[in-house]
């Protein structure tokens, strides 16, 4: 305990309760100063977030809600001690809230932030709360102190221009604030002459904190639990094996890897100069694992001499190798137990990672010829566009086609594919792939086409593991196709309508290659027989397959099936390659050019929010169909249910139309429920006063059972509630007695007498130190019941509303 001179603020005769503050006009200034620091912090927080939009909304909501709640609390603080108490509670809540909210987010939903961001968010919210309570002088100073710490941290964390600009503004405004505070303190010091005995706050806080830390250090140091107690307390501090997947940086590599610059000791899916080789499965291995192996020719095996078990394995491997060389895809397969051994040994089961919008179809191989059982590629070299290399922002981009080369192209989309365990020299290609970029690869000969029209690295056997491939693809708007006569069927097209190269190869994509002898045509079995010949007919076929057939991976076509399409149409179920085969054949019979595509389907549910990428696993191999609409434009369609169709780039008008159509459909489907709920809500609203009053009466009856005081108190609350329901709530400056004494006006004598007694007791209960005489308990309860019954909402409205 020491004697100290009161600061000027506490001796100000005009101040309230002697504590108006070192800078009485600084409340708005303080709040503004803290808000600038808060805005700076929000910029940094949003920039560091995985999902900037949601984080920005989250941060804004936090800030607004904290400010509003703090203002509400301040409004309810009658005295400075109350204000200090409420501010303390609010600050504690501000510190705890970000941690609790993040814990809930980690447990129940996606979305989390690094620990240090949460701590700084707590600091920010605490500063805001203190700024709102800055009419209490010490709290205003604390708010400025916290905001300066926040700005200091922000300056060390970012190089963002906006954040630095806001920090500069904060500095200037802070200087102004300090000048004002200084002059005010100087002026007040001239009249400060009182002394007051107080506990030294700073020494107490600092000393207490030091003692606690010393005790903790002693306890932890002597018991040898420091490694456990401090284990990972600061994720970014490093030094332990503990890691936080949400950390922004640290000693370990974590989930977010960075490219090594010097003396790389490890490698990962980042852009670097390292290209390593490893044993990786091919696409064929994965199809065999997923769908089973194609059947072996029986007659050849029957004529061979039995082999030893060790040699059988070798034979199977040779068959698989032969298939790879022949570029076939058999639509007839037999189920075998999936082989996972090789994949389980891998550290990361992913074949590749996709950064960007999902779901996404990534084509790896295309087939144009079908014999009823097996898809093959004819091997004809099409006239592919010349690949040109351009440098953009010091990055080499290989352009595979011209931007906007087709009338259906609209907008661009970017993806990045990280090769993990996939062994191929083909680029996993989204539909309408336009450009490819691989870091450091700036030689044209590294980019080329395969025979079946897939972009690849022709000079390599396979793309090195952990290579990051950046892809640009064009969006498509199908609306022009839906209205136009489409497509140019083989029987209708003329030489002058399309390019020569397309003319030459067009037969490979039509039904003439295998199905011309089948009667009747397959499409006559579908409901699209009479559809007009444009893209809507294609969509009708796709929709028919997606709705009428069932995806069943365990229902392949029999091995002796001569025509898998016929079998599938009969069985109405099957794996995705039968859906794709059937769609391709049906569309060919309708005169469209189609080809089968195998590759990967990046699923939406495999999106890893923390890593910001989608994992593609071996079981994500998929088969779909592409329909040719002009010389170089093939549109992917998805006939298999359960797989989302490739996304269409819509105009705003189309988007609005679809949204309204979907809403209308949803509205019609749920019309009964909506009407029921609406009627219920209307009834509840119309009768709100009745049931709310009934609830209040029930609560009053229950709570009043405890004692006559409780009965009296809850009857007062009932009157208050009814007055609010009646639209004439008691004004804040009126007492219970003053406002409700009007209920006795023009009332029957018994109500006047009861009301008089009730209000006298109410005054005594609320403001007298002695309270109600226990001998009057029965009378009090009786009068309260009588008043509650007599003073209905209508009575209150009649007697009170004209006083408002």
């Amino acid at each position: 305990m020491t004697w100290r001179k009161l600061p000027a603020c506490e001796s100000n005769p005009n101040s309230t309760n002697g504590e108006q503050g070192p800078y009485p006009t600084a409340r708005v200034d303080t709040l503004l100063l803290v808000l600038i620091a808060s805005a700076t912090w929000t910029v940094v927080r949003v920039n560091a977030a995985w999902n900037p939009a949601s984080t920005a909304v989250h941060a804004l909501c936090e800030l607004v809600i904290t400010t509003v709640v703090a203002f509400v609390l301040r409004r309810h603080a009658r005295t400075l001690p109350q204000a200090r108490c409420l501010a303390t509670i609010a600050v504690m809540a501000s510190v705890v809230y970000p941690l609790a909210a993040d814990l809930a987010m980690r447990s129940f939903a996606e979305g989390s932030e690094p620990f240090e961001m949460l701590m700084l968010t707590g600091l920010e919210l605490s500063a805001v709360v203190l700024a709102v309570f800055s009419h209490v002088p010490r709290l205003g100073g604390a708010a400025v102190l916290l905001s300066s710490f926040l700005s200091l941290f922000v300056m060390t964390m970012t190089k963002d221009r906006l954040a630095l600009l806001l920090t500069a503004v904060y500095g200037m405004w802070g200087l102004w604030w300090l000048m004002g505070a200084y002059w005010d303190r100087l002026a007040g010091a001239l009249v400060a002459s009182q002394v007051e005995r107080r506990i030294p706050v700073r020494v107490s806080v600092i000393g207490g904190t030091g003692i606690v830390l010393l005790l903790l250090a002693t306890l932890i140091g002597t018991t040898g639990v420091s490694a456990v107690s401090l284990h990972g307390f600061m994720p970014t501090s490093g030094g332990t094996q503990w890691h936080d997947s949400h950390a922004r940086s640290g000693v370990g590599d974590g989930d977010a890897m960075v490219a090594a610059k010097d003396e790389a000791m490890s490698f990962g899916p980042v852009e670097s100069d390292l290209f390593l080789d490893s044993d990786m499965p091919t696409l064929y291995d994965m199809f065999n694992d997923m769908y089973g192996e194609p059947p072996k020719p029986k007659k050849k095996l029957e004529r061979n001499i039995g082999l030893a078990p060790s040699e059988v394995k070798e034979t199977e491997q040779q068959i698989a190798k032969t298939e790879r060389n022949g570029r076939e895809f058999s639509a007839v397969r037999r189920n075998v137990e999936r082989r996972r051994q090789t994949l389980d040994d891998l550290k990361a089961p992913a074949m590749l990672y996709v950064v960007g919008r999902v779901p996404l179809h990534l084509a790896l191989e295309r087939f144009d010829t079908f014999d009823g059982r097996v898809w093959t590629h004819a091997g004809a070299t099409e006239n592919r566009p010349t690949i040109r290399l351009e440098t953009q922002h010091d990055k080499p981009w290989a352009y595979l086609m011209s931007v906007g080369s087709s009338f259906i192209h609209r907008g661009m989309e970017s993806h990045a594919v990280k090769i993990i365990n996939l062994k191929t020299n083909r680029f996993p290609s989204p539909p309408q792939l336009t450009a490819v970029h691989v870091d450091k690869v700036d030689q044209p000969e590294f980019f080329g086409w395969t025979d079946d029209g897939v972009a690849c690295m022709p000079v390599r056997d396979h793309i090195p593991q952990l290579t990051v491939i950046h892809l640009r693809s064009q969006g498509v708007n199908l609306q022009p196709l839906r209205g136009a006569s489409f497509p140019l069927a083989a029987s209708e097209q003329t030489t002058t309508q399309v390019g020569s190269a397309f003319d030459l190869d067009i037969d490979r994509f039509t039904i003439k290659t295998f199905g011309s002898q089948r009667q009747p045509p397959l499409w006559r079995r579908s409901p699209v027989e009479n559809s007009s010949r444009n893209w809507q007919q294609v969509e009708a076929v796709v929709e028919w397959l997606r709705t009428e057939f069932v995806l069943d991976p365990n229902c392949p076509a029999p091995e002796d099936c001569p025509d898998v399409v016929a079998y599938f149409l009969h069985a109405k179920r099957g794996p995705d390659y039968l859906f794709a085969t059937t769609a391709a054949v049906l569309l060919r019979e309708l005169g469209y050019q189609t080809r089968l595509v195998t590759g990967f389907y990046a699923r939406r549910d495999r999106f890893d929010r923390r890593a910001g990428q989608t994992t593609v696993l071996p079981e994500d191999v998929h088969v779909w169909v592409e329909v040719g609409v002009d010389e170089n434009t093939w549109l992917a369609i998805e006939p298999t249910p359960g797989y989302e169709p490739p996304r269409e780039s819509l105009t705003w008008r189309q988007w609005a139309t679809i949204a309204m159509r979907d809403f209308g459909r949803w509205f019609v489907e749920h019309l009964a429920v909506l009407v029921g709920v609406s009627v219920l809500f209307v009834l509840l609203f119309v009768a709100r006063c009745v049931w709310l009053d009934a609830v209040a009466v029930g609560v009053c009856e229950v709570m009043g059972l405890r004692s006559s005081r409780a009965r009296l108190r809850w009857t007062m609350r009932l009157l208050e509630w009814r007055a609010w329901l009646a639209g004439c709530p008691r004004p804040r400056r009126h007492t219970i007695a003053a406002w409700y004494s009007r209920l006795a006006d023009n009332a029957p004598p018994d109500l006047q007498l009861s009301m008089n007694h009730f209000l006298c007791w109410a005054d005594r209960l609320l403001y007298a130190p002695t309270g109600i005489d226990p001998s009057e308990d029965a009378t009090v309860k009786s009068v309260c019941r009588f008043v509650a019954a007599a003073c209905t909402r209508q009575h209150l409205a009649r007697n009170l509303c004209h006083f408002k």
């Binding site: 029957p748 403001y767 009068v783």
Partner: protein
């Protein structure tokens, strides 16, 4: 709708209302006496009684001929103590109020000649016509109920009660009371014109009474009884909830944007005392926010200074800015 069987009787109501009032007869006598002197102004009479029981001093700020002097004489007569009147003019000296030491030729000593402040009720008529020097002579007497002259302190009556009047319309040759002296008054009242019925009643009462004939008011209580009553009023309970409300109102006067001089702590104490008296006059032994609100106008109007035309409006704004404590 019928009254329940356990309805409290009138007797219990009376018990509620007068549970702590042991001097109700004296108060009723004072009230009747003042109401007889000032017809049709019962609310003013209640305020005067509250001021008297709270040991405060009263300032009438009103036009001539509205009954200020009549009411002051009635108070003095009803209390039964000494009554003195000072007609304040610019040439009035401080010693004309406090008294002075006069050299006695016979005894060859100075003798103290008491001034009008040595009475139970002092009427300072048109106080704003006295010079500030003379006005300040009342400071010590009003605040501490004593007079110090030539280093010698003379105690005044324990029931010393100042009723001052001032005319707000005649500013020529007047000296406005300083804030320091205004703060020593408990309240400022404006009597205002009586209503039609009261004026008719007044005229009827004056028929047959010759002009200038003095009507004496019979004493109702003695100064000693008044002193006991004042001590009893000072014990009226004020719970913490009500005190907090009072403090919040005081803070609100200082934070009001149009008020340059808010309520002082002395003013806050005076406000509480007057509210206690008001509660006692209503038959209660505890103060409610209603009591505080009822006396807020007279108590604040004499103290608040600022650039405003209507003090009543400011008082209403201050009252409206603070929530009445109910369930908290």
């Amino acid at each position: 709708m019928s009254l329940p069987a356990a309805t409290p009787s009138d007797q219990s109501t009376a018990k509620l209302r007068t549970s702590s009032c042991q001097h109700q007869a004296a108060i009723d006598g004072l009230r009747r006496s003042l109401q007889t002197a000032l017809i049709g102004k019962n609310d003013i009479v209640e305020m005067v009684l509250a001021c008297l029981l709270a040991r405060g001093h009263l300032l009438f700020d009103d036009l001539p001929g509205l009954g200020k002097t009549t009411l002051a004489k009635a108070v003095a007569g009803a209390v039964g103590g000494d009554f003195a009147r000072v007609q304040c003019t610019p040439d009035l000296l401080p010693t004309d109020i406090t008294g002075f030491n006069m050299f006695n030729q016979k005894t060859r000593e100075f003798e103290f000649r008491r001034g009008p402040v040595f009475s139970d009720v002092l009427l300072a008529d048109e106080i704003n016509r006295a010079t500030p020097r003379t006005q300040s002579a009342l400071f010590e007497a009003m605040a501490e109920r004593q007079v110090t002259l030539d280093g010698q302190t003379h105690l005044l009556s324990q029931t010393f009660f100042v009723i001052a009047t001032q005319n707000p319309v005649e500013s020529h040759g007047a000296y406005p009371l300083p804030e320091a002296q205004l703060d020593r008054f408990a309240m400022k009242l404006r009597i205002g014109y009586p209503d039609r019925r009261s004026e008719l009643e007044m005229l009827a009462a004056n028929i047959g009474v010759a002009e200038g004939v003095r009507r004496e008011t019979q004493p109702v209580i003695t100064p000693t009884e008044l002193r006991q009553l004042q001590e009893h009023v000072a014990k009226v309970a004020v719970t913490e909830k009500v005190r907090e409300y009072l403090v919040d109102l005081g803070r609100a006067t200082r934070e009001h944007k149009e008020v340059t001089l808010g309520l002082s702590p002395r003013g806050l104490i005076t406000w509480q005392r007057v509210a206690q008296a008001r509660a006692h006059l209503r038959g209660r032994d505890f103060v409610t926010p209603d009591d505080i609100q009822d006396v807020a106008g007279p108590v604040l109007e004499v103290r608040l200074a600022g650039d405003f035309d209507s003090a009543q409006k400011i008082v209403q704004e201050i009252l409206a800015s603070v929530d009445v404590p109910v369930f908290r």
